[in-house]
């Protein structure tokens, strides 16, 4: 959405302090792969599968719908699809710290109409640990395979669904070709060692404004990403964050970049 239209309609939208630093919602498809620079993800789209309509914008609760692909037969029946999502742990409505927690929550929340095909377990894909859950729905004949891994304090999740087991097998096999490698800042929940700040002033519109920030080795805010905010809120918060100074985060005896989250506006849940 253009900034002009956003201002005219005064709607919430994601925004960032700069256009160079990658943000999670900016993936793209090219040459048969879905690429997402924020997650350092390159996902090979299974052969014959096509990109489906994009999902909603990032949510106030840190949920991203990144991409969806499907295998559709000549009779226009959908054989299988994969939904790529991410849940930011800093802004989750329920307490979770790793992908394993998310898969466990899905397992706990399964309604009786579903039949488990196995308890959650771990698999290794492209050298990374994925937490896997599979279940089926006998009446509709649909099957689900959920594969979730930890990236930058997010659960990055691939949900494969369909009635065609062979297509699901092929899609799961194709995941062996994904890569998730590259440099990223450390992520730390609630790193709030602020030594200097100016609080932003903006109109209360009863919305939650989740903000991810990257703090550089000198303690300045190098980058800020607002998942959801009204334009005037975004402007006020970004302006204020430029004045903030943190105590530099140290790891291994030296100052390092760190990524953390903060919430402005309406809280998401009671404090831990």
């Amino acid at each position: 959405m253009s900034l002009l239209l956003m201002i005219l309609l005064s709607v919430t939208a994601p925004s960032a302090s700069d256009v160079v630093t990658p943000v999670p919602e900016q993936g793209s498809v090219a040459a048969g792969r879905y690429r997402n620079a924020y997650f350092n993800l390159s996902y090979p789209i299974p052969a014959g599968w096509t990109q489906q309509p994009a999902g909603p914008p990032p949510s106030e609760a840190g949920a991203y719908t990144l991409a969806q692909f499907a295998l559709i037969d000549p009779e226009q029946r959908l054989r299988a699809h994969v939904l790529v999502t991410a849940q930011d742990f800093f802004f989750s409505l329920i307490e979770m710290d790793e992908a394993k927690d998310l898969v466990a929550a899905i397992r706990r929340g399964l309604e009786p109409v579903y039949q488990l095909e196995g308890e959650p377990d771990q698999v290794t894909i492209a050298g990374r640990t994925f937490h896997r859950l599979s279940y089926r729905a006998p009446r509709s004949g649909l099957r689900w395979r959920i594969l979730s891994t930890d990236v930058r304090c997010h659960a990055l999740t691939f949900t494969l669904t369909g009635g065609d087991s062979a297509a699901l097998d092929a899609a799961e096999q194709a995941m062996r070709g994904l890569s998730l490698s590259g440099k990223a800042p450390l992520c730390r929940s609630d790193y709030n060692d602020v030594v200097e700040k100016t609080d932003p002033r903006f109109p209360n519109r009863y919305n939650t404004i989740p903000v991810r920030v990257i703090i550089d080795t000198s303690g300045r805010v190098k980058h800020a990403h607002l998942l959801s905010a009204y334009p005037e809120q975004s402007e006020a918060i970004l302006s204020a964050l430029r004045t903030w100074r943190f105590k530099p985060y140290r790891a291994g005896g030296k100052a390092v970049e760190v990524e953390t989250g903060m919430v402005f506006g309406m809280p998401l849940r009671a404090a831990r």
Partner: protein
């Protein structure tokens, strides 16, 4: 041309073949209305005493026709206009009975010329189409062109009282209908149809904590569903009535509708309502401000049940109106039972949450700690560019809509916020478009066999 008989066997074979390739919406369920009437604890008029009298008085007010001064034959309520969409509550909330949604014959056709009114019927209002209110995306200038730096979103009532025998000085020389032709030509118009109000008191009495806990339980869902709530701008609490959940309570819902849809000022909306450019400049022309305001008000000299205003009566009627009852019977029973499982399995029930439980009620037993099978989470969701109306109401944005409660769906004629769909297959697939939270669920629907799709339709028509 001479008609030839077709052998029944051949015809039934043809139907089987057709059904093998596509599912069919059997259409609105026939028979008696499975909704309407008072809640069970209200019917005895003793929980508490006289409560049924309030329900009945509310229903009477809901069905009464309005005229400008209340002295037109058959239209004893005063306050109509000067701008309006309809002459009574019930003419829009009619299907399948009092309190429902848009009826088969659109009453807005007759309303255009009632009592001698000289309104032009806009092209989007048709005799067998849905009852509609119109909203403009941008305030148009005098020539009808949208001013792109001036977002609107408000209702522009279809008609004026000009030409009516009771219009007094509010003639076509001083007031005119909005320029709907230009609005359509400029893609500056969207529509809304009436929401059914059955079981509304149960919806009103669901605690915020219940809604918030359900929302939190959807964290990490594998469907891309990201619910949020529309919140009252004054106190930040969750609002829940209307297509975008923009109204906090039934009384606000009634007061706003009385003013916006019928032009009746009341204790919640005390002034007569100008529209569009009129509202931003000089307001209504003086000759069109005919009655003292508020036209609807507390009646101090009436017996108790009639002391309260029409708006309070409407709200109490809706509050005490019993919910629709599902009907699992007939030749499609097996399909209905199967469809119920499909509804949950493919993820419809994540947003169309089957049931909540109300909190304790201080009004009547039936509203207290009661199961509410409304099929909605009462949250607003991003529904994509295909359904977007680009109207912002409260914190609900242009592509966000409240999950429409599905109870009573079996006897409805028109679907989605603007009534664009007249069969359930179209209504379901319209949930998918770029930016929609429902895309993965609709992908699951698309993956179903035809038989399972058909069972899902049977189930929905049982509600």
């Amino acid at each position: 041309m001479k008609l030839r008989s077709v052998p029944i066997v051949a015809l039934s074979t043809f139907l089987v073949v057709v059904q093998a390739f596509s599912q069919v919406d059997p259409g609105p369920r026939g028979g008696p209305a499975n909704a309407g009437g008072p809640l069970s604890s209200v019917a005895g008029n003793n929980d508490p005493p006289t409560i049924l009298d309030f329900f009945t008085a509310g229903q009477d007010a809901f069905t009464e026709v309005s005229s400008v001064k209340g002295n037109f034959p058959g239209a004893p309520d005063d306050g109509l206009g000067p701008r309006f969409n309809g002459l009574s509550c019930v003419e829009c909330h009619a299907q399948p009975t009092v309190g429902g949604s848009s009826p088969a014959v659109n009453p807005q056709i007759a309303a255009a010329s009632a009592a001698g009114a000289t309104n032009v019927i806009p092209s989007f209002i048709t005799i067998n189409g849905p009852v509609r209110e119109a909203r403009f995306r941008y305030i148009p200038d005098a020539a009808g062109n949208p001013q792109l730096n001036n977002p609107d979103g408000s209702v522009h009532p279809l008609y004026t009282i000009a030409g009516r025998v009771d219009q007094e000085g509010c003639t076509a020389a001083v007031i005119s209908q909005p320029n709907f032709t230009a609005a359509q030509a400029n893609n500056n118009i969207i529509f809304r149809i009436p929401t059914p109000v059955f079981g509304a008191g149960l919806i009103e009495n669901i605690d915020e904590e219940t809604l918030l806990a359900y929302r939190a339980s959807l964290t990490g869902n594998t469907l891309g569903i990201t619910p949020n709530f529309n919140r009252n701008g004054n106190d930040g609490t969750i609002s829940r009535f209307g297509w975008k959940a923009q109204n906090k309570s039934l009384e606000l819902f009634a007061g706003e509708a009385y003013n916006v849809e019928m032009g009746v000022s009341n204790e919640l909306s005390p002034q007569e309502r100008p529209a569009g450019l009129e509202a931003k400049t000089n307001g209504l022309p003086a000759p069109c401000k005919i009655n003292k305001t508020p036209e609807d008000h507390t009646n101090f000299n009436e017996p108790p049940v009639d002391t309260i205003s029409d708006v309070a009566k409407f709200a109490m009627f809706m509050r005490l109106l019993k919910p629709p009852v599902q009907q699992v019977s007939g030749p499609n029973t097996v399909g209905i039972v199967a469809g119920e499982g499909i509804f949950v399995e493919i993820g419809c029930a994540k947003c169309h949450k089957v049931a909540f439980t109300t909190g304790p009620s201080n009004i009547t037993t039936s509203l207290s700690n009661a199961e509410v099978k409304l099929f909605s989470d009462l949250a607003v969701h991003f529904m994509g560019s295909g359904l977007a109306d680009n109207i912002q109401q409260g914190t609900a944005q242009g592509t966000q809509f409240r999950t429409a409660p599905l109870w009573g769906l079996g006897q409805r004629l028109f679907f989605l916020h603007d009534g664009r769909a007249t069969n359930l297959m179209d209504a379901i697939t319209a949930h998918s478009s770029p930016g929609s939270e429902a895309n993965a669920v609709i992908a699951n629907y698309t993956a179903l066999t035809l038989a399972n799709k058909q069972n899902l339709i049977y189930y929905l028509r049982s509600l």
